[in-house]
């Protein structure tokens, strides 16, 4: 059985991937995840979004543990 990772998504990103929580095959790093998602959901290429690993924003490429909390975050607009 190949490992998978669970991803949560918010706002416009959740609209594009069609759900707010979903499993994908495991990829090794956040950059690889972005490439994978861009292929699977071409509309994502038009949207600015950030990745949070374990509730921390990722600013450079980072390794993804299978158990990581992965979140796709469009630009914030609270307040």
């Amino acid at each position: 059985m190949s490992s998978s990772i669970n991803i949560i998504a918010f706002g416009r990103i959740a609209e594009i991937i069609g759900t707010s929580s979903r499993s994908f095959p495991h990829v090794a790093t956040t950059n690889e995840l972005k490439e994978f998602l861009n292929v699977k959901f071409p509309e994502l290429k038009k949207v600015k979004y950030a990745i949070a690993l374990n509730k921390k924003l990722i600013t450079t490429d980072a390794a993804i543990e299978v158990s990581a909390n992965i979140a796709l975050l469009p630009p914030f607009s609270g307040g």
């Binding site: 949560i8 918010f10 706002g11 949070a52 914030f76 609270g78």
Partner: protein, 148 residues
């Protein structure tokens, strides 16, 4: 991992003016306070072409937002001589004219309360994973983006 006291800031629905009044009243027993600074965010019925914003629906990544808010709170208290700080942010559908953000800082002298309030509002808007979906009269929507 370091431990921070994580307080909830999110409330379902709008923040009522009466609640704000009650929050202010509670501070009369602290006679060491000389100044309060309050910021309120109110949903605006912006016009975009032929469409008018009727409401904003707020969602959040609560776990991450509250952890970040605890970090911001700690930094604000370290930087400004505050007596207290209270923050409430709405989730769900908030209609135009209703209040969706209530930031309330208090201090002995005015500078700390005023500076902390302004700073924490900026940080909330820029750093908390919260999203506002502007819902138009015709039920279409667009995602808000905070400008820096």
């Amino acid at each position: 991992m370091e431990k921070k006291k994580v307080k909830n800031i999110f409330v379902e629905g709008p923040i009522s003016a009466a609640f704000i009044g009650e929050s202010i009243a509670k501070h009369s027993s602290n006679t060491n306070i000389g100044a309060h600074s309050i910021f309120l965010g109110q949903v605006r019925s912006d016009v975009l072409g032929e469409n008018v914003v009727q409401s904003i629906e707020y969602t959040t990544y609560a776990d991450m937002a509250l952890e970040k808010m605890a970090e911001i709170r700690e930094e604000i208290f370290a930087k400004h001589a505050l007596t207290c700080m209270h923050i409430h942010h709405s989730l769900g559908i908030i209609s135009a004219g209703e209040i969706c953000l209530f930031v309330f800082t208090s201090s002995k002298r005015r500078r700390a309360a005023v500076d902390a309030c302004t700073e924490v509002v900026e940080r909330i808007k820029n750093e908390l994973p919260v999203w506002g979906k502007e819902i138009f009269a015709d039920k279409t929507h667009q995602w808000k983006e905070n400008t820096l």
